[in-house]
């Protein structure tokens, strides 16, 4: 979706302001939100792509004015309500009132914690041969899916070069909607800064994205 989360190349957000000696969490509730997202995801309520999609789907003014963990909380609430793990009457009461919905992987327990501390595996067996090889020129398609995608707007329509092939990975565009993994070849594609931002751009700049094969066409 063409949301405000897709920020590459936007102007007006000001300077980057690193915080010296930044704490891991600024408030205790942030750590609970992080842990709830991790636990509910690992228990099978949603995958990482769906959780990203729900954060992207927050109203633009909410997305832009909320802290990182506030976005996580709001996205989590919306996702759990949409999928029936939480009912509106639970929220109104502030306690569990409606019956629970069973989780794909069961209750998340202390024994599961070590598992969530290692990243999931997203590589899958290739269903077909790769269409592109390193060194080939490709164009990022001019597409505008209304649902989740990992093709940023700033590369659409532009030509780059395939640099690496990462094998086949879960396709976020379908996985986010619970429409299956549909593994796709994944490539690092490099764009010249002038191709993306115009001829006056600093010629030393190169930008790459990791692009799933359906995002690309020969150029």
């Amino acid at each position: 979706m063409n949301g405000v989360h897709d920020m590459g190349g936007m102007d007006g957000f000001g300077k980057v302001e690193p915080e010296p000696n930044e704490p891991m969490f600024h408030q205790e509730w942030e750590s609970r939100v992080l842990a709830m997202v991790r636990a509910m995801g690992a228990a099978g309520a949603f995958n990482i792509d769906a959780s990203r999609f729900y954060r992207e789907s927050l109203p633009p003014h909410v997305y832009l004015s909320s802290s990182y963990y506030k976005k996580w909380l709001l996205g989590l609430e919306d996702l759990l309500l949409a999928r029936g793990y939480v009912a509106p009457e639970d929220v109104a009461a502030g306690h569990a009132v409606a019956p629970a919905k069973s989780l794909k992987h069961g209750k998340f327990s202390v024994a599961d914690v070590e598992r969530v501390m290692v990243r999931g595996k997203f590589g899958r067996t290739a269903p077909a041969a790769a269409k592109f090889k390193p060194g080939e020129r490709v164009r990022a398609k001019n597409i505008h899916p209304a649902t989740h995608t990992r093709l940023p707007r700033y590369v659409r329509g532009h030509v780059g070069v395939v640099e690496r092939d990462h094998g086949c990975h879960v396709f976020p565009d379908t996985a986010a909607n619970d429409a299956g993994e549909h593994p796709q070849w994944l490539y690092t594609v490099v764009f010249d800064g002038r191709e993306l931002w115009g001829p006056d751009t600093d010629p030393t700049i190169k930008v790459s994205i990791d692009a799933f094969e359906p995002y690309l066409e020969p150029a």
């Binding site: 980057v16 636990a39 569990a96």
Partner: protein, 191 residues
């Protein structure tokens, strides 16, 4: 916010979706097990051991997996090497993808709009915000983390560190030097 978070946690735990103690254990694991010290050990090892460095650049997940003392790393880690001619910098314009196992949880600036919007269009301007400047002819390569691949920058080894142990070298490796928004510390400089 705090009340709202507490209410959600009550609802979910009353429904039996998780053990509250499991949330405590997750938070504790983030607070104690992950952090830039993991990445720093990997970088120091690569500076000291040419065979490891090559293995890291070939397949970082596999190479890091051979180091027992570093936390377990997931698949799809990619290490990218800074050279005198090329400087690498990592961003996630769409959200906040970051190599957690190597660097810990990302800092607020990495997840915020100014960095995410400008890193791909004006990386030299972003570096200036960090007080970093590079020669005008140095290629700047920005890696936008748009998939489940995760990027770790292998910074250049500082001069004046000949004969240093891996432990000494690791002390010089900063978090920002592994994101590409900073350099390692200079030996002997006041910290």
């Amino acid at each position: 916010m705090e009340l709202r978070v507490r209410a959600l946690e009550s609802i979910l735990s009353e429904k039996g979706y998780f053990e509250p103690a499991a949330l405590d254990a997750i938070v504790q694991a983030y607070e104690t097990k992950i952090g830039p010290h993991n990445g720093a050990r990997v970088v120091a090892k690569a500076w000291s051991d040419p065979a490891f460095k090559q293995a890291l650049l070939d397949d970082a997940s596999k190479a890091v997996g051979t180091l027992g003392h570093v936390s377990r790393v997931g698949d799809h880690l990619v290490a990218v090497e800074n050279t005198p001619n090329r400087h690498n910098m990592v961003v996630c314009t769409l959200c906040s993808c970051y190599p957690w196992e190597m660097l810990g949880l990302p800092p607020v600036w990495y997840k915020a709009a100014p960095y995410r919007s400008r890193a791909v269009k004006d990386p030299r301007g972003v570096l200036a915000d960090f007080g970093v400047s590079l020669p005008t002819q140095t290629e700047i390569r920005v890696w936008d983390s748009t998939a489940e691949t995760r990027f770790l920058v292998l910074p250049m080894r500082p001069a004046g560190t000949e004969g240093w142990s891996e432990e000494q070298l690791a002390e010089l490796v900063t978090r920002d030097s592994m994101i590409g928004t900073g350099f390692p510390k200079t030996p002997g400089a006041p910290s």
